[in-house]
Symmetry: C2
């Protein structure tokens, strides 16, 4: 997406890095905090200044009682009461906005504490084109480590092939009597499904160009994106000359977001949602049918209160999904969340 | 161990890197190969030349019908019919012997093909003291990638804290009708349990010095190492002035091996065995009781034919083992093996 920001490398070949950097932060005040605390109290002009640091801007916006959803020149931003999500592709620099964001969250949002943090991304296609500190995961970790003493950095998948990096908080729990039954319960259900696709079907990708579609609405319908998760209010954008972004939100505050870099030489599509489900198999299948990727990762985070918490068992058994064969599967068990990472490739034809 | 090889860094402070590089290779001839192929046909002088490249030497040797077990100046080597294991600590360079080893395996052993390969190690305490290509995992992977087109590199655990690196082969399986039931069956049971410990109990560590024990036999008995897995033929060595290595072998070709760097500033103990068991809980507990580490990793590889294959379920439930709390748990599902990685820390006292 965001073809207007296309870069040229030294050889004059056009390239755009579709791979996003995804930052999700949960704020809290602890027990004694103000009930009126809300990240959506941060003024629009402050958000715009924040995004300048990240090197992107707001291009569209929808909201309801539960969530503010922004389409950005590079991907998306979702703000709800205590959760901030920033997903940006290209050569954006989201980690540089962390400190100002924590200040805004306190000054306007009324939140004094980061409860949980997730910074993740797939390996870039062209890391050397990124801007500090985003060229290497080690650089990103070094910056995050200066802000979070309890940060833990992971690399899932094959580090010399396709992989996915994650930085999260993994504080030492207090010494209490711990039952031998896995994670502590958490009352607020939360889950995230993300599917990151590369080597996509060129015919499908051509939908997401101004040559083939007049506008985003047409691209959304023609591709079937509107049918992946029905009953979403959709805010979509078709870039000039190509590239596509969409946010969908439900009344109860769930979201989905899709970003498409359609160029054949570096095609990339990301799909993300936090809609709860006891099985993601149908959504995964719909996404694959919609985009027909050559390779893709599936990551699922789910906490103990989530109906999604047993999805990993389902994925463990799926050594292939239709024509896609699983190459990697890894499970991680964090303080509040279980994570499953899987990587699939199309069978050689 | 191998205190005779202690190094001094720029500040004149003594240091020894106990963390081993572990190389395990399974050879095969395919279906049409010679039944007389055997890695133990490689002459001793050829093995000695090979170990010169690695920067270590043989200091003791026991054998039976199933396995040749060598204690090295830096850790151990085990050679059986088609499996080669080389585990070396300090500043050894085992990856530099790979190409000559493959030649010897063909010329003398009669094996033309690598069926499976595992190269693994914990993160070093002092990576900057290592010799190329062992300073960074990236270097190690680059070398391995030149030899194995199907190699996949993984980092388990927190890359900015304690972690464990693995390189293995992950070829694309041929397109066949695949049932949705996980891995393909394999007829030869195989499993490996490894426990890598740091921050060990100084009183226990003092056993492994010439000051406290006259010889290895005394250290083995006094520490209780001989009771961890009974009925092993033990070949042990106590280094001057401190450090300890032991190999144990059973009649049917199973092994265990323990290596100890006792110095308080950089204490490290590794335990490894391939003894089959439907539960490793008792062995893990005995190892922890014997050495009392501050932190440790447990890794278990098991193939589908192994009685150990369900051990991961057992470990998933163990969010603490006595006074040690689990900080990380990751599962990987490879072509022939399942792997579980766990990392535990002692509760803050």
């Amino acid at each position: 997406m965001a073809a207007t920001e296309n870069m040229r490398d030294g050889d004059g070949v056009q390239f755009f890095e579709g791979v996003e950097k995804l930052l999700e932060i949960w704020f809290t005040n602890g027990d004694g905090g103000s009930k009126s605390a809300d990240l959506r109290k941060i003024p629009r002009n402050k958000l715009e200044s924040l995004l300048k640091i990240v090197r992107c801007e707001i291009i569209s916006f929808v909201k309801n009682d539960q969530i503010d959803a922004y389409v950005l020149s590079e991907s998306s931003m979702f703000i709800s009461k205590r959760r901030f999500i920033l997903k940006t592709c290209g050569t954006t620099t989201p980690l540089l906005c962390l400190q100002p964001l924590l200040l805004l969250a306190e000054q306007y949002g009324g939140f004094t504490k980061v409860e949980d943090l997730f910074y993740s991304r797939k390996n870039y296609k062209r890391p050397e084109l990124q801007i500090m500190p985003h060229q290497h995961f080690d650089q990103e970790v070094a910056l995050l480590d200066t802000l979070f003493p309890d940060g833990a950095a992971y690399c899932l998948g094959a580090v010399n092939k396709d992989c996915w990096y994650l930085y999260t908080l993994n504080p030492i729990p207090k010494k209490t009597i711990l039952p031998d039954i896995g994670n502590a319960p958490c009352d607020e259900a939360d889950q995230t499904l993300e599917i990151l696709m590369t080597d996509l079907d060129p015919e499908i990708m051509s939908i997401f160009t101004k040559e083939e579609c007049l506008n985003a609405t047409e691209a959304t319908k023609k591709s079937g994106i509107d049918k992946i998760i029905p009953n979403m209010v959709i805010d979509d954008f078709l870039f000039e000359p190509c590239g596509y972004s969409m946010n969908g939100v439900t009344k109860n505050g769930c979201y989905m977001t899709i970003h498409i870099t359609p160029e054949p030489d570096f095609s990339y599509v990301s799909f993300e949602t936090n809609i709860p489900s006891s099985s993601y198999r149908e959504i995964i299948q719909k996404v694959l049918d919609t985009f027909n990727p050559g390779k893709f990762t599936v990551t699922i985070f789910a906490n103990q209160a989530s109906p999604t918490k047993d999805t990993s068992k389902e994925l463990l058994l799926l050594n292939h999904i239709g024509k896609w064969q699983r190459r990697d599967i890894q499970l991680c068990n964090f303080k509040n969340y279980d994570l499953i990472y899987t990587f699939y490739c199309r069978f050689p034809s």
